[in-house]
């Protein structure tokens, strides 16, 4: 156990260094998965210890993006959990149609699978033209991937099945061209998207929006950081705005639970109560 205790100290110091030197704050991320990812990084980047890694990253900023890729990137799927998107289509879109213009925030957009799912769904529901999307993440590499809209062709089969299950009204193949093992999604889907570096751990509210989708991001945070993020969502949502979380996330234990009402309970879609 002594070795573990030392390792815990080293990890804390490494996270502290990342925060103080580069302002990336992982100190309130759920420890068990951070530890797992850092062990992976240590092994694959060939460091003998987390202390050695800390020393290197403090002095060599080129290591930061590589480390970020271990600490942040999650592979998602387009239309992951099709029933979530079906609920947006059937239950939320009718409300959104009553607005002449819309702002939607995809918080923790990673490489853009969720963003593209929204853009396609909004196109199908006649909402895309009037919508400005904010796609945010702390990883510049992920934002770049999201903005390029390029995905490996072997992932498209799963995306297509999900899209159909979500009640898709068109064919996914309408939105991409395939070449050299890659699917390149139509840039028209991204013509009204602002890609931005934004941290739920350290940054503030930046716009008033009608819909926030933040899926499988909060599970990586500890309780206090989850509450910080949910506070940002509360303060960013317009009156009666919507919040969609991952299928295993909920507001049940949050100090901000009172600010939201369950809108589609089983899909974790909430609506901002009147302040």
């Amino acid at each position: 156990m002594v070795r573990d205790a030392i390792e815990d100290i080293e990890i804390n110091l490494l996270l502290e260094a990342l925060q103080r030197r580069y302002h990336y704050d992982f100190r309130h991320y759920a420890q068990a998965s951070i530890k797992r990812r850092l062990r992976q990084a240590r092994e694959q980047l060939s460091f003998s210890s987390f202390s050695a890694m800390q020393e290197a990253v403090l002095r060599d900023s080129a290591l930061v993006p590589r480390l970020l890729n271990y600490l942040t990137v999650q592979v998602s799927e387009m239309f992951r959990d099709p029933s979530y998107y079906r609920a947006i289509r059937e239950n939320v879109a009718p409300h959104l149609r009553t607005y002449p213009s819309l702002k939607v925030w995809i918080a923790g957009c990673s490489s853009g699978e969720e963003l593209h799912s929204f853009a396609i769904l909004f196109r199908e529901e006649g909402l895309l033209e009037r919508t400005l999307f904010y796609a945010t993440d702390i990883n510049p590499g992920a934002l770049e991937a999201a903005a390029s809209g390029v995905y490996a062709l072997d992932r498209i089969k799963a995306f297509t099945e999900n899209h159909q299950k979500s009640g898709g009204k068109s064919s996914l193949s309408d939105y991409y061209t395939a070449a050299y093992g890659r699917a390149v999604f139509d840039k028209a889907l991204r013509s009204q998207v602002v890609f931005s570096d934004h941290s739920l751990a350290t940054d503030a509210v930046f716009a008033e929006v009608q819909f926030i989708s933040c899926r499988n991001v909060l599970i990586y945070f500890d309780r206090p950081l989850q509450d910080r993020a949910l506070g940002l969502f509360r303060d960013s949502l317009a009156r009666k705005g919507f919040l969609g979380l991952g299928s295993k996330e909920s507001l049940r234990f949050s100090t901000h639970a009172e600010a939201f009402a369950e809108f589609v309970r089983e899909e974790k879609i909430y609506q901002r109560r009147e302040p």
Binding site: D8, S33, S76
Partner: protein, 191 residues
């Protein structure tokens, strides 16, 4: 197999899991003083049925683990399908949607390794039937943390690959028939 100071039990199972777990979990008494965390590989569309299925057969409380909930004695937690199940140092659970490990999400290795970090020598790890090698690294982490490692006797297992792989990787792991695993876990609660 000392039962002193056991703080948690983790169980991993794959092919044949439901039958194997059905011969273990129903034996645990309602007042079982130790939490049990279970990862089973099962197709996504059937996963939500696990907790209700076993709740109907068991005297202990059986539930699907929820993100950041405290781990309580006498409760059996199943990892939800499509998410890894991890144990935090403060004895709460976390979920993650990190990429599958050995094609598995939830991954037995991920649960066992995080539980070994959190519980150290207070952990008992059990690998049951399965047709892949998930859990072998995890059981090794249980051993490295000073915990007790058990694997179902491959000779009697529905699918021997998983317990065999676990036994091959950890010389300290004990090879135990299913009935004896059930009896051992029950006895842990009376020690």
């Amino acid at each position: 197999m000392s039962a002193k100071g056991v703080e948690a039990v983790v169980i991993g199972a794959s092919a044949g899991a439901i039958q194997a777990l059905s011969r273990i979990l129903p034996d645990l008494p309602a007042s079982y003083p130790i939490p049990v965390l279970v990862v089973v590989h099962i197709p996504d569309d059937r996963a939500d049925l696990l907790a209700p299925l076993f709740q109907a057969k068991c005297r202990v409380v059986v539930k699907e683990a929820e993100d950041k909930e405290p781990i309580l004695p006498g409760v059996v937690y199943f990892g939800p399908s499509g998410y890894h199940l991890l144990v935090e140092e403060d004895r709460t659970v976390s979920l993650s949607s990190d990429e599958p490990v050995l094609y598995s999400r939830p991954s037995i290795d991920v649960l066992f390794e995080s539980a070994a970090d959190a519980f150290g020598d207070g952990l008992v790890g059990v690998i049951l039937t399965g047709a892949n090698e998930d859990g072998a690294e995890g059981l090794r982490a249980v051993v490295a943390g000073g915990g007790v490692a058990l694997a179902e006797d491959p000779a009697g297992a529905f699918a021997p690959t998983m317990p065999s792989a676990a036994l091959a990787k950890s010389a300290e792991a004990r090879c135990v028939p299913l009935e004896a695993i059930a009896a051992y876990l029950v006895q842990l609660g009376t020690a």
